[in-house]
Structure formats: structure tokens, C-alpha cells
């Protein structure tokens, strides 16, 4: 966005990936710091375990899902010491499924092995209001829009126990007794189990379905300790996972009841599907994590499209204009308030070239006088 605020609103940036092969084009989106992720693609190799992501991608052949998995393994091994590689690769991996699906005329979820895509119950995903009153109004508006579930997140939640209770009360009042209420703490408690546990009583009282990211993404012991303190509130987490292993550990060792995966960080659809399989086998509910465009939303739904019982899904309703305008078509709730994964080739989302031009940030990276990356102008894009 031309103006960026300190709000934890991930729809303020977008790093869109376009892959081209054999006359077809696929699109993906990294949920990541754009400049840093670009640098991870173009950086010169500095040693054998520190190769750019591009080295494992450009010029490769793509004829089957196994080709995507082979590239993923190469990125992990050849870019072992390049931490950002996972975020960069995520958008590329997504774009490769989109491309392969378009070539085959099949939706990505079919390529992932599902026979049928089940409808999902979207929860409106918004930030807490600055005051309980704002949160109350936000919750009422969400119900008025027809949503049956809503998630409130981040600051001011965590600032004070009293304030948090007032926020929870307001959210429940606004949603009504039959609304599904979810809370996202945005890692505010670090590893402080006692501070997070102090909120459980109020959460049980206001019937909060899940308590998301109370802690840092890797605080397995804290997740475990908190999950053992309540039967009524499910602990949720996982969006920070940048490998499928990290997410599986949150299930196996952290005791979460909801595992939330961002395909734009975990390495794309393949590792996300592996987590979905593990969640289903472990009695844990898989949920997408999405706070950006409808391209990312479609991608995030594919890995669990075929899991009928894993019904709830994140659905951002207050996207900034960048994320809204990025796609020509959108995924919207039907008359029953459910959303449907596109039954169209690839991810089934069309990118808006005007938005790419309108919001493009000019970036140039030069090393030893050589330009490694420069934002393409629209004309150049057309020619490619």
C-alpha cells in the first residue's frame, strides 16, 4: 500500500509470483516481506548450502506434482542456510500448482489427491477494535453481513486482563449467543503460560471456540502447558510454520486442537497438504490462515478442500484495496453463508493486471555493478 501502518494487517503488502512454462502461466503469492523474499530469489550463491531459490527453480521441467516436490526438496537442501528461502518458495510453489492445473484442466485440490471439494464455513477475520465499543460494532456488522463466525485479533488484546475481558464480552454481545467466537492473541504472551492462562476463565465464560497464537510460533512447551489447562477452549496455532515439520510438532508436542497453515509461508500447497493429512489422522482440525488476497485465499483452501469435517475457514473481510483489487474474481459466501473452493483449473483466480501496475513498488537490486532484479514495467511483462 502507498501508506503502511503498524497494524498487524498483512493485506498491506503483496508479493505476487508469476511462473511461465510451455505457454502457460501460473500465479502465486508469498505471505512474506517482499523485498527480502525477492533478494532470496536473486542473491548470488555464496556457498554450496547458500544458493538462491532461483537456482532450484529456473529451467526445471514441470509435468507432474512430483516435479514440484522435487524442486521443494532442492530448495530445502541447496538453500539450507538461506532462512528466507521458505517464504520465497511458498509463492512459487503455489504458482506451480496453478500452472500445472491450468495445463491439465484440473483444480489444484484434485492434483493434491482429493475427489471432491466440500463447502467451508467462513469466519470473518478482523482485528479487535481499539475499544470494546468498536469491537461490539464490528461484531454486529459481521453478523449483519451474514457471517456465523468471527475472529478478533491482536492489539489491544493482551494489554490488560480487565481490558481483554471487556473485549471478549463485547465481541460475544455483538455476535449473539449462537455466533462462533474466535480469538487471536498474535503471540502477545511470548512464552508466558500464566499470563495466557489468566484469560481462559473469561474465554470459557464467553464461549470462545479457539484461542489462537497465545505464544511465539515455536514455543511447543508453552502451547502444551496451556492446552492442558482447558477442555472447553481449543488452543490454535501454526501460521508461523515455515516447514510442515514445525506444524506437525505443534500437533504432536504442542497439543493444539486447531492447526492453522499459511500456504504463503509453509512452502506452499504440498507441505500444507502433508499437515492436513497429519491433522486428520491426529484428530486435530485443519484451518487455513489467510489475511491477504483471494489468490492466497484460494491457495489456502486447496490443501484441505476434501476434508469434509474440517469445515471452518479464515475469510478476511476488511482487506486493504491492494489485496481486494489484485484479483478479478473473488470467492464469496453463497446464500447459506458457505464458501466454495473454485472448481476451475489451478487455483481458479484471475489476476488483475491493472492492480499489478497500480500498486507496483519499484525495486532495484545491484551487486558488483550488475542488476540482479529490477521491477518489470508493464510492457516488458506483456512481451514475456
Amino acid at each position: 500500500m502507498p501508506e503502511v501502518t503498524t497494524a498487524a494487517d498483512g493485506s498491506q503488502d503483496a508479493l505476487v509470483v508469476r511462473v511461465a512454462a510451455g505457454g502457460s502461466i501460473g500465479w502465486g503469492e508469498c505471505e512474506a516481506s517482499p523485498l527480502v523474499s525477492i533478494a532470496a530469489f536473486v542473491t548470488p550463491m555464496s556457498h554450496g548450502a547458500c544458493r538462491p531459490v532461483s537456482a532450484s527453480v529456473l529451467g526445471r521441467s514441470l509435468t507432474s506434482p512430483d516435479d514440484i516436490r522435487a524442486m521443494a526438496a532442492d530448495v530445502a537442501y541447496n538453500s539450507m542456510d538461506l532462512l528466507q528461502a521458505a517464504h520465497t518458495w511458498s509463492g512459487i510453489e503455489m504458482a506451480l500448482w496453478d500452472l500445472l492445473g491450468k495445463v491439465r484442466g484440473e483444480p489444484a485440490w484434485k492434483l493434491l489427491g482429493y475427489q471432491k471439494a466440500w463447502p467451508k464455513l467462513p469466519y470473518a477475520s478482523v482485528l479487535f477494535g481499539g475499544t470494546p465499543e468498536e469491537t461490539l460494532n464490528r461484531a454486529r456488522a459481521i453478523r449483519a453481513q451474514g457471517f456465523r463466525a468471527a475472529k478478533f485479533g491482536w492489539a489491544p488484546f493482551g494489554a490488560s486482563l480487565e481490558g481483554d475481558i471487556a473485549q471478549l464480552e463485547a465481541a460475544r454481545a455483538g455476535l449473539g449467543v449462537d455466533g462462533v467466537l474466535l480469538v487471536d492473541a498474535g503471540q502477545v504472551f511470548g512464552e508466558d503460560v500464566a499470563a495466557a492462562a489468566a484469560r481462559l476463565k473469561a474465554m470459557e465464560r464467553f464461549e470462545v471456540t479457539w484461542f489462537e497464537e497465545p505464544f511465539r510460533g515455536d514455543a511447543l512447551n508453552a502451547y502444551k502447558a496451556l492446552s492442558q489447562k482447558t477442555d472447553k477452549v481449543g488452543i490454535a496455532g501454526g501460521e508461523a510454520a515455515h516447514t510442515s515439520q514445525m506444524a506437525k510438532h505443534l500437533i504432536d508436542f504442542g497439543g493444539v486442537r486447531y492447526i492453522q497453515i499459511d500456504c504463503g509461508r509453509i512452502g506452499g500447497l504440498g507441505p500444507a497438504k502433508a499437515v492436513a493429512d497429519h491433522a486428520a489422522a491426529s484428530g486435530v482440525t485443519y484451518v487455513n490462515h489467510t489475511f491477504t488476497s483471494n489468490l492466497a485465499l484460494s491457495a489456502s483452501l486447496q490443501p484441505y478442500a476434501g476434508l469434509k469435517e474440517h469445515k471452518i475457514c479464515e475469510y478476511p473481510t476488511e482487506l486493504r484495496s491492494l489485496a481486494r483489487e489484485l484479483t478479478l474474481n473473488r470467492i464469496t459466501p453463497d446464500a447459506e453463508g458457505l464458501i466454495h473452493v473454485p472448481d476451475a483449473p489451478g487455483l481458479g483466480i484471475e489476476i488483475n493486471p491493472d492492480a499489478l501496475a497500480k500498486y507496483r513498488v519499484e525495486v532495484e537490486i545491484r551487486v558488483q555493478g550488475r542488476t540482479l532484479f529490477a521491477s518489470p514495467c508493464p510492457q516488458q511483462e506483456e512481451k514475456k
Copy 2:
């Protein structure tokens, strides 16, 4: 280095960090992709959880170790969605301990809480030869240099069971019966426990002390499974950890007997010390991971300088000229073959300004026409 090969030799690059405050200067080194880590420092904020590392560092006051810990917490929280931040911050954190130690006239290990620094037994850390003969000669040369321990790593290890056995036999023959033999598989087995376990018999026969990084850094279950298959060979790992939690999980859930920490990746000396404390309490041996300059070597020794029983330490002996020339003083074995953590303010290592000039890579990063980073010329450095 002017020429970079695909060898897993991390001394081919260097990202040196200089921090200045109150008239003093501190130095650190990231074990990371240099360009990407620079981008993580300078990138514009793209949303509240995606702020550059610089936002949590520049202009902060530094009067005590707690100030460093406070900055670390801010980086983790404010750069939550910027994966590379941990690698960038690692070099800065190191430099801050160096600076604080210089101001106080105390070595970093004292600031970390140790009263005394114990000598360490260095193992020569080299790559396997391309053939068993080369490895044999390398091992003999290492013994001839006076080293009592050696580690051989990476390709061609893992390519074939027969070849690996021949390599192990050669390494043992070259080191002699009383040499400490260590093996580093460089993650070559991915998560394939059976493939790694197939090497255990030969490792036991040739009395390998530890089997390092058989798997991806986050494959906790694979580590656990392998560690349960042998009492004689200790499983080692941890260098990939970019948070102290990840390393602790390798101990708690992965069953490693040696935890190897790279201060240039884990977030610097503070989180490394937290891992050392946890290792000591868990009966696991802490070991440094270092394959770059003596600045990084000194930093890597500080977090366990005071742990007398954790004696063995990684000591790269075949550094490329960049890493060798980067420091004016070096840490070298004494007459008994032991090395000593510098008993000097900070990290006790002097940087060679000529090497900084000689090996500098010109980098320029521009966003929307504004230069966010340009390699400083030596004159500019002098002025600062």
C-alpha cells in the same frame, strides 16, 4: 570470495556487522546469506508484523545485557513475518556484546554470567576428501598438526553405503586409534531414518563419537528414532536452529547427545547461552558450530566458555582467505593442543580493515527510487 564454489564451505562468504554507540565499536558476523540479510535490515516496513530489523535496533540505548535482550524480543515480535530477521539479528547481537564488553572492559563470557573460561579441545573441522585416499591424507595431516580430534563432513558422504564405509575406515586410519573421530552428514538423509541407521554399524566399528546432522534440522522424530538405535554413537545437531526453542526441542524431543549452536544463526550469544544452560541441565553436551572467521569462532565459544565439562569445540582449519584475513588476531592451540576463549574485552578479536576493503562486494538496494543500502566506501567508514 571472488570465486564461489558449490562446496558446503561457509567460509566463502562473510557478512560483517559493525555497531557504534557512545564512541565505541563492536563487531559481529552473520552466518547467513549476505544480500538477503542486508535486505532484512533495510526493507521498508510492509505491515506491523513485518518491520525491518533496523526498526528494533537503531537509536536504542545500550547499557546492560538486558538492553540486548529487550532488542532481541522486539526483533522477534516486530519482525515476526520476516523469516530472515533471525539471521540478520544474530550478527548484530554478537556485535552488541562485543561493544558492551569493550565499554565495560570485560569479556563477553563474563557479561553472560560465567566467572571463569575453561580451555576447549579443538577438533579440526574439514570436509571429506573426494576419495577415501584423500580423506586418509587429510586425517594424517590433521594429526601431524597436533589435533587430537577431527570432523569430516558432507559429500560424498551419503552417496553410497559402501563408499561411506570406506570413507569412515580411511578417516579412522588417518587419525589413529586414539583420535576422536566425528562425522557430519550435512542433512543428506532428509528424514530417512533407515538410510542413516544403515551407517551406524560402521560408525560403531570405527568408533565415531558423534553422527552430526543426519537429517533436516527440524526432523525431531527422525532424530529421536535414530538416537534410540545406538548407545555408542551420539547423535548431534542444532546448527540450523534460528531460535533457542528449536535447539531445546532437539534435546527434549529429538534425543540428541550433542547440541551444536551457531551464534550467527540462532540470534547471537543470548539464545545460545540459554541453550547451553538447558543442555547442561539435561545431560547433553553443548558444542559450538563455526565454519567462518575467528570473530565468529570467538563469539561461538562465549556461550559455553564457563562449562568445564563441555570441552570439545569446532575449529575450522581450512578457511578460505576471506575468513582468514578478516581478523588481525587469531585463536590458536597452545602447546597442549587446547584453545582459550580470549580473556579480553568483548569478543577479543580485532577486525582487519584491509580485508573489509579487499573483499567488499558492492551492493545497492533501491526502492521507489530511494537508496536503502549502498556498500560504504572505506572513507565513509572512517568518517562514521
